[in-house]
C-alpha cells in the first residue's frame, strides 16, 4: 500500500510541479484567459497516456522496452527544451510586466499560447505512459487478474491525489509572494526541475542504449537515500534526483544548471535595473548563447 502510494506520489509530483508553476505564473501575470490552454494540454496528455497505456495493457500488442524508454527519454528532453523556453519567457515578460508595455505582453502571449499547451502536455505526458501502465497494472490487480486486491490501485490513487494536493498548496503559497520574488524563485525552481528531467531523459536513453555510459556512475547514494523511501520519492518527484547517477547525467545537469541559471539571473538583474532603454536591446542577451 505505502510503496504503491509512493509511486503514485512520485509520478504525480513529476507531472504537477511544472503545471502548477505555469498556472501560478498565468494567474499572477493576469492572463487567466490562457489557463484553458494549459488545462487542455494536461487533459490531452492524460487522455493520450491512459488510452495508449490501456491499449498496450489490454490490447493485442505491447511495447518493446527500447521503444518505451526512448519515448520517455525523448519526451523528457523535449520537455526540458520547452520548460527552458518557458523560464526565459517568464523572465522576459516579468520585465515587461514591471514596465507599462502591456501590449507587448499580449503579443508574446499569443505566440506563447500554442507553446503553453505543449509545455503542459509534455510536463504531464513525458512520464504519462509509464504512469498509465502502472495504473492499469494496479487496475488489473484490482479486477482480479492473477490477484484481486484493490490495495495497489487505492494506494496509487491516493499518491496521485496527494501530489495534486501538494501542487495546490504550492500554488496557494506561490501566488501569495510578491511578483519579483515569485519570478526569481519559480524560475530557479523550474531550472532545477528541468535539469533533473534532462538527466532523467538522458538516463532513459542510456538504458535504451541510444546513449552510452550507463555503468559509469558519478555517485551512488542509494544506501543513504533509498529510492523507495519518502525522501527518495520526494527528491525524485520534484527534482528528479536519482540516487545512482551516471557521469553523463551529472555532467549534463551541472552544465545545464550552470548555463541556464547564469542566463536567467542575468535577465532578472536586467529586469531589476531601472529601465530607460526600449526593450529590444534587453532581449538580445537572453536569446543569444553567450
Amino acid at each position: 500500500m505505502l510503496a504503491n502510494y509512493l509511486i503514485g506520489l512520485r509520478e504525480g509530483l513529476e507531472a504537477t510541479l511544472v503545471v502548477v508553476i505555469l498556472v501560478a505564473y498565468l494567474v499572477k501575470s493576469d492572463r487567466r484567459e490562457l489557463l484553458p490552454r494549459v488545462w487542455g494540454g494536461v487533459a490531452l496528455a492524460v487522455a493520450v497516456s491512459l488510452a495508449f497505456g490501456a491499449l498496450l495493457t489490454f490490447g493485442p500488442r505491447g511495447l518493446s522496452f527500447e521503444a518505451q524508454e526512448t519515448i520517455g527519454g525523448v519526451l523528457s528532453i523535449v520537455a526540458v527544451g520547452f520548460v527552458t523556453w518557458m523560464v526565459m519567457w517568464m523572465a522576459r515578460s516579468a520585465r515587461s510586466l514591471s514596465g507599462d508595455l502591456k501590449g507587448r505582453v499580449d503579443v508574446a502571449a499569443a505566440a506563447g499560447g500554442a507553446s503553453l499547451v505543449l509545455v503542459a502536455m509534455l510536463a504531464v505526458g513525458r512520464e504519462g505512459l509509464e504512469t498509465a501502465l502502472f495504473l492499469w497494472a494496479a487496475t488489473q490487480a484490482a479486477a482480479g487478474t492473477g490477484g484481486s486486491t484493490a490495495g495497489p490501485l487505492l494506494g496509487a490513487a491516493l499518491g496521485l491525489g496527494t501530489a495534486v494536493l501538494l501542487g495546490y498548496l504550492f500554488y496557494r503559497g506561490a501566488v501569495k509572494i510578491n511578483l519579483a520574488k515569485f519570478f526569481t524563485w519559480t524560475g530557479a525552481i523550474l531550472i532545477l526541475v528541468a535539469a533533473g528531467v534532462l538527466g532523467y531523459g538522458l538516463h532513459d536513453l542510456q538504458e535504451a542504449r541510444v546513449l552510452p555510459g550507463l555503468d559509469s556512475l558519478a555517485f551512488d547514494v542509494s544506501n543513504v537515500i533509498a529510492p523507495g523511501s519518502w525522501i527518495g520519492t520526494i527528491l525524485k518527484g520534484t527534482l528528479n534526483f536519482s540516487p545512482a547517477t551516471t557521469w553523463l547525467q551529472a555532467v549534463a545537469w551541472v552544465l545545464y544548471v550552470g548555463v541556464t541559471m547564469t542566463l536567467f539571473f542575468r535577465q532578472i538583474r536586467r529586469n531589476n535595473r531601472p529601465s530607460t532603454a526600449p526593450t529590444a536591446p534587453a532581449r538580445t542577451p537572453a536569446g543569444s548563447p553567450s
Binding site: M1, A3, N4, L6, I7, E11, R37, G40, G41, L44, V48, F52, L56, F58, G59, P60, R61, G62, L63, S64, F65, E66, A67, Q68, T70, I71, G113, A114, S115, L116, V117, L118, M121, L122, G125, E130, F134, A137, A138, Q140, A141, T145, G146, G147, T149, G151, P152, G155, A156, E207, R209, L214, D215, S222, N223, A226, P227, G228, P243, A244
Partner: protein, 390 residues
Amino acid sequence: MKNRRLAAALVAGVSLPALAACTDNSSSSSDATDGRTIAVTSSSDACDLSSDTAPSGRLVFTIKNTGQEVTEFYLYAADGKRIVAEVENIGPGLSRTLVVNADAATYVPACKPGMKGTGIRSELTVTESGGSGKASAAVQEQVDQANAAYREYVEDESGQLLAGTRRFVAAYTSGDDARARTLYPTVRVHWERIEPVAESFGDLDPKMDAREADLEAGQKWTGWHRIEKDLWPPSDQPYTALTKAERATYADQLLADTETLHGRIGKLTFTVDQIGNGAKSLLDEVATGKVTGEEEIWSHTDLYDFQANIDGARVAFEGLRPVLKQKDPALESEIADRFTALESMLAQYRVGADGFVSYEKLDTTQVKQLSDAVNALSEPLSKLTAAVTL
C-alpha cells in the same frame, strides 16, 4: 488553430514511432503455445523464474511483486551490465509484463526489490529456436487446436478419474473388496493416462500414487498403492489388514486429493512443449515402472497402466501430429509406426473388452519384447518436442 495543429503533431509524433515499435502482447495465443511466457516472482529476498531456459525469439516475462517494496525487473546481457530490457514501478501486489525479442544467448535476469543495488540475479539460457520463433499462421492454428484438444482430453480423464474414484472408494469402505478389486485397475487407467499432468502437482502425487518401495524416510504412505496392498494382501510376509476406520481414512484422503487434482486441472492450459514432453515422460513411466512390474506390485495390474500410459502418449502425439507432419514427416511416420507396433504387441495380453492378464503371467522373453518395443518408440518420441517447437 495553431496550437491544435501543434498538439496533434505531437500526439502523432509520439504515437507513430511507438506503434511501429510495438510487439505482440502476452495475451496473444502464440505465447502460451511454445513456452515463451516466463513467470517471474519477485519477493523481498528472492527472484524466481518459472523456467531458466527459453526459446529464442519473442519472450514474455510476467513479473509479480509479492514483496513489500517496489521492485524492478531487469534482463541483462551475459556480462551482467548491458540492459536488454527492464520494467520499473512494479508496486507490491502488482503484475507487469515485459516483452523481449531475445537472441540465443545467456542472460542475467534480476529483480531489484527496493529499486537499488545490483539486484537478485540468476541465469537464463535462451536456445536457438530458428529465427524469430514465430510459427506461421497455419501452423499456429494447428498448435492452438492441439493445445485445446489436449486440454479437453486431460480434463475429461480427470473427470472420469474423480467419478471412478468415488465408486472405488465407496466399494472399498463398504467392505465390497471384490468390486473394489475390479474397479482398481480400470479407475487407475484415468490416472495413468494423464500421469505427467498429475505429477506436475508435486504435493499431490506423493500422497496419491506413492509406491511402498519408493517411500522416503518419515513419509506417510497413503493413496492408491496403500489401498492396493490392503486389497491384495501379500501372502509371503506378515500383513495386518486395515480396520474399517483406517480404510475410511485412506479412502477419504484419496478422494479429497482427487477432488483437489480435478479442481486444479480445470485451471490448466497446455503448451506444445508440455504436451510433447508429457508424451515422452509417459513412455518413461512405462519403461521404469510398468514394464518391470513394479508399479502394481500387489495387484499385478501393471498392463492396465501400461496401456493407459501409451493411450495418453498417443493422444498427445495425435494432437501434435499435423504440426509434426509439416515440420518432420519422417519422424511423424516413424513414431506412428512404433506406436502401432507397441499397441499390437500389448493387445496379445488383452482379456475381455478392456482387461489385461496379470503381469505375473508374462515370462522374461515377453517382458523383454515389450521393453524393446517401448524403447523403440521412446527414442523417436524424445525428438517430438524439439521437432514441433522448431
